[in-house]
Symmetry: none
Subunit: 202 residues, 4 copies
DNA sequence: GATGAATGAGTCTTCATTCAT
DNA sequence: AATGAATGAAGACTCATTCAT
């Protein structure tokens, strides 16, 4: 009876396992059998749902990003709070502190490396990154419209924030040179603060 | 009898080839035979100079970073120009426009992904990143001392600049969402400009 | 309630699809799923009708031959025409020009190759070949009895004609060295002509 | 020192083993590991000498035919005996009695089946068949020129003999309907006899 | 120092067969 | 009767590493 859902569920289950494995062993270190084991299925079934390993990896990357955006839907949809607060909440939600976020970051970084060598994955990355950029820029434009943020090149500001978050997070994940999740937040916060409309001096 | 130099040369030659291959196929896609072919030697000789594939990769990462710093020695040693100019020149030198710089960036990004899964490589990355961070911070501190830059948390500023450069460069390399080398430069330039000591109003 | 016919029909349908697949991909290239797809049924049902893949193949070979003889029933049953004409008609009917005949030849040749390695299939082939040989020899014996063909070793003559037809047809199917269906017919025709009772000189 | 020959020898060794395996298990039943075992080497080395299984099979087919012609070089080069004797000797040499000849026939028949489904193999077959046809026709033309054989369409006669030999040999190999190597020889002999220039009646 | 043939373990992928529904 | 998801064994192919030369 519940047959129809079996296929979709299995696909999803396998993609999530693939993300886990990518986060753990990297894209090229991913073995179909590892994914199967994690998903609790036979190796054969993976190829029943995905034509090839590459196809699975592509799907996993998209799935990782979709879930990543989904988890932040509440933040993006927040229309009541001050833009500075919303942007700060967003940055904080990307802090690599919980396992889920850390895994998502690992997969995201793997996508960078993989996409540098595969045009198909480059498209996957571009589609994801564009969606993400549009949302950030949307928040900034809205904040400027409401007078909460100073006017300015919203595209450049969005890129600045996103690039900073990406670059710092990598170092936090690697624990390099004392970089921590807290420092990422504080440096990003200072950037966001600088976007705020200066209070008019009386 | 001056054989030692032959060995050192060969090692270097093989490491450079390894960097090329890493940039092209990724760390895990690297095949010892590809490196050998690029270096114009037999696959067997690679193992004469490097105990294992991992050892070769580790050495290649370090070699990539060393050469990267060497290429910028003139900029770092510049004591005469204004800090803003020096920092700007530095950022520009990292623009992924020429083949050499692009290759170095690819290897650098590969190191991120690989280090996330290997503690030994994490150390390699940390050593490199720290040396790079010290130099940037040194420039900022010097600039502040000379009154060319506004006072402030030099460590945070250095991290901000480095994180931004890393994050934006990835997107430029991937050509995502219209990111280009020029935009990377301009966004970084705006950050550097904001560090400048405001001219006192009379 | 007349269900038995459904089963027989399905079996037949599956066997015909198996012949198609054998002609296209060869015996060992045959996949049960291909047969199922061609027959418009699920892979599972094939095993309901045939215990195993080998069993299906065996049945398909027999089915191929049965249909092959059936298609020539009119020729074999022809009692009124001259033996030379009947034999010629028979040879012509084996000309690999239409799709059906070509497919049947492919399956026949596959049977040779498969039977060389499987004793069970050797029996299948022998049964088929014997039935075919008996019919040819029957035509020759009848022709000799009616004085239309010269007397002689009917078995050897039958083998000669059959061997020649088999050997030439393979080359025609492969398009080797300029062999064509027309040349097969003409060479076979010359053999048949040589069997004719020479007209008595007055 | 004798290094140069190692490669050629290994290739040959592997091709011969491949022929054996093809004769035993068929083309599609051929496993690279079986070939390796028969050749006394590791499975990996087979791929060192042949890019893929198909490439190995193609080479094996050519090797089988080359050796087949080589074994009959003495017969083809015979310029002193009567054409009827030479042709008879040739046919006899193809009698599937010894293991070597039987293996060669198996491989040849496998080539028919395989070539029907692969255009590359079709070319391999055509090249081989053409060389073989040219030699047979050459013997017939020479015999006619020397007045040992009756004049006539040498191409058709060659095709007749070759087709007959192919077709009958298949049945002899399968032991169908009482076909034997001896009967193959006798039927072919009768065809060859019919080519002889009739002795002029005085 | 250098070569490259050889090994063999590892992994993707295919597919006959089963079985819950 | 029929489906198609699931299994798992089998096999092609890759590649780091070794070693005789």
């Amino acid at each position: 009876m519940a047959r129809p859902s079996v296929e979709a569920e299995r696909r999803d289950q396998i993609m999530r396992s693939a993300c886990k494995v990518i986060a753990t062993r990297g894209v090229l270190g991913l073995r179909v059998s590892d994914v199967a084991r994690d998903a609790g299925v036979s190796p054969g079934i993976v190829h029943y749902y995905f034509d090839s390993k590459l196809e699975l990896i592509r799907a996993a990357f998209e799935n990782n990003f979709d879930r990543s955006l989904d988890r932040r839907a509440v933040i993006f949809d927040n229309r009541s709070d001050h833009a500075v607060e919303v942007l700060t909440a967003l940055v904080d939600s990307y802090s690599p502190v919980d396992e889920e976020t850390i895994e998502a970051w690992h997969v995201w970084i793997e996508l960078w490396a993989a996409a540098l060598q595969d045009d198909e994955l480059k498209l996957v990355h571009d589609r994801a990154y564009s969606r993400w950029a549009e949302r950030i820029e949307g928040l900034i434009i809205a904040g400027q419209a409401r007078g909460e943020l100073a006017p300015g090149d919203s595209t450049a500001l969005a890129h600045h924030l996103m690039g900073l978050l990406d670059g710092l997070s990598v170092q936090a994940l690697l624990g390099s040179h004392g970089m921590t999740a807290t420092k990422v937040q504080s440096i990003c916060a200072s950037l966001i603060a600088s976007m705020r409309e200066p209070v008019e001096a009386v």
